[in-house]
Amino acid sequence: MSLWKQAWIIAKTDLRVEGRSGEILWIVLPYGALALFLIPIATALPLKTLSDIGIGMYWVVVLLFGMFVTLRQSSQSSPQERDLMRLTLSDPAALFLGKSVASATLLGSFQLVMGPIAVAFFNPALPAQWWLLIPVSALLALAMAMTGTLVGFLVAGTRSSNALAPLLAAGLAFPSLVGASIATTKLSDSQSIVTPIALLLLVVAITAAIGMASSTLLEDQ
């Protein structure tokens, strides 16, 4: 069976498991929304300032809470399940790809819900071509998903994985956040966003290459 088909089966199963656990829907999403709600209250900034920082705050919430999406409990496997996967998959990269696709789908959905909430709480001045933020968000979701999956594999079974993983993943996802943030600023100034899109594409390509290449090594760690 091809790598892609195995990855697709893993992604579908991961999404089904997450659907049943409800971890993203009932825990991460409400917390993310709460964070967006609390920032204006806690800072008591003037409305104009809140409007200026609105999109930036949105990206920060996406980065920080997105880590909990990619590192969700429902996607973690027991040692017995990991052994089973090692004996079942013809190519270990299928696990990386499948879990990344599932996480990217969930992250995309997370951003889709958080976007209107950020607009409601911050009333940011959206760029005229705001729809160009959709591919930016999609690339950010993909980059963060692959980073989170890779980190999840790296820390699997380690004693402090719960604390270490979000820290590592957030650090590694930082370039993606910078890309998304620059894209937003450039759009607001009616400039081309080719450079930040290229940066995001580069991060996606590098993370994918590392993830695919290291799958066998990480599998046998």
Partner: protein
Amino acid sequence: MLAVGCDGGHAGGILRLVQPLVQLDNVTLAFGANQVLDDVTLSLSDGGCVGVQGPNGSGKTTLLRVMATLQPVTAGLVTVLPLEENPRQEIGLVGHRAALNDLLTLRENLEFIAALRAIPSRDVERTLAATGLSPVASRRADRASQGMRRRTDLARASLMNPKLLLLDEPYNGLDDAAIGIVDRLITNTRDRGGAVVVVSHDPAVLARVTQRVISL
């Protein structure tokens, strides 16, 4: 040094060279200062069935993981299913803890592996029926009894038709019907020309189902 040979005698009177399915030569494994396996030599050919016994912490489960190619060794040579293009895909490992996703039903746990191996879904239903799981197959794994979870693990091993079957305490906590399932799984694997390794604390069990027993 521990050295054991175990052939199934499935040559049928035809003179042939027997290529062992599993060959461990002077295998040693240590986790830091903790010596887990010490100079183990073992050979297992088609149709063979060997038992492994020993006290807690003697390395029985680790030895199974070595044979499953899941645990690298410190020294020595491990050869598993040398004639297979992808040996890992021919290994069935049933651990003492079921490898199930708790949020999937028992059927979905089997279907997941079946899909990854391109095994037809009718085979899943046939296996569920053969292991007596059909009536509870729609139950989520985290709501199934330990016995049912272990049956599902055994059903999955049966579904995968492994050439090398590795069983870790397979009879623990099973009722008579489930014990029959384990026995059939062992017999079927050996009849297909595969080999079986059974880890158990119970000498009577090993004497009943295996040809030879090694002690760690």
